[in-house]
Symmetry: C2
Subunit: 192 residues, 2 copies
DNA sequence: ACCATCCTTGACACTGTCGTCAAGATTAAC
DNA sequence: GTTAATCTTGACGACAGTGTCAAGGATGGT
């Protein structure tokens, strides 16, 4: 058929997200996207302009999902329990798939040098929002922590999640990552 | 001149390391390497075979330098002071240059999906050795820490250094990274 | 019915990069 | 001085990926 859009945009972006997640912005080609979505390359160009435009939409979808999941996990129980759930969630998130797909944000961040300002901005926004969510949960903990301390600690926690994402790429298993997260939580928050 | 090797191998590898550090294994091209070293593409192919072979040599050089510097930093004062020097070192290391060149190991790790087994192995070796160095220093701390605990904590510290490398790519400044390192050390080790 | 609109399709040109190779040139060995 | 070895050089072919475009055709509005 010709003349009217043949595909469901939401479905295409969801599939594109999967492709980008597995291959990264840089390595995923328009041909990959066309094959995965079943939409011809020309149609994708017509609909979105270029690969980066598709990526931005896919990343927005990812960020929305991720931050919502993070919020849910963080609100389980007290701050320490919330963090444990949160780390569980991100570890499953990045080790899912075969081979494991890793963390899209981290992968994208590492390509900063060859990315557009738009892409870099999305990554920063994502990390900032995550930091704010964590700070909020930590700030409500009974410990006598100042707001500034909570913010600083939240940033450290975000940083550690990035570290786990790198370690996953380096070959550490889900089980190892879980132990690393537990050790971290015990050391940083368990005794607060 | 022709007939005998026109370049100093050590110099070429050192320059290649600089190129790879700034651009990454994937994005650095043989043309980049040829331009930076002053050695023609054909000569590089003749001498080393392919880009990856050059990278492996460059990475070995990097790993040697880095681990030596890490060892030196870690042996300043007690465990806590050593860690502080160590983090200072790696932060300067990754924020050096304009634009900052980031962390080669982390960048390489993120390309794991498209890298050869050789490359992945180097990254793992590097992280393992670093972990061992840190565990050694931590294990000697006066605190009543078991060897297993020291090993676990060392891995957490390595992971955090990877997190810092990601955050650098995300746009955080040297100053911010230093604060993040300080907060981490205080939380994890300061009260041990 | 007709027409303008808009999507699809396949082909095309272009670029960047890789890896190869034959020819040329210089050195070291004998 | 001759010869063998081997490094350098520039050109070449192959390939992958990008972005563009004209032609084709269905749809919805009038």
């Amino acid at each position: 058929m010709v003349g009217i859009r043949q595909f469901d945009e939401d479905e295409v972006i969801a599939t594109a997200l999967d492709v980008f997640w597995r291959k990264g912005l840089h390595d995923a080609t328009m041909l990959d996207l066309a094959a995965a979505t079943g939409v011809q390359r020309g149609s994708l160009y017509n609909a979105y302009g270029d690969k980066e435009a598709i990526f931005l939409r896919a990343f927005d979808r990812y960020a929305r999902q991720f931050l919502e999941a993070a919020g849910n996990a963080l609100s389980h129980g007290d701050a320490a329990a919330g963090l444990r759930h949160f780390f569980d969630m991100i570890i499953v998130n990045m080790t899912d798939g075969s081979p494991p797909r890793g963390c899209l944000t981290t992968r994208t961040a590492l390509d900063a040098a060859i990315s557009s300002a738009d892409v870099r901005q999305r990554v920063q926004d994502m990390l900032t929002r995550l930091e704010q969510q964590i700070a909020k949960v930590i700030g409500t903990a009974p410990g006598k922590r100042s707001v500034a301390d909570a913010n600083r600690l939240a940033r450290v926690i975000v940083t550690y999640t990035r570290g786990l994402a790198v370690m996953e790429r380096a070959g550490y298993t889900r089980k190892q990552l879980r132990e690393m997260a537990t050790t971290f939580i015990d050391a940083v928050v368990g005794n607060a």
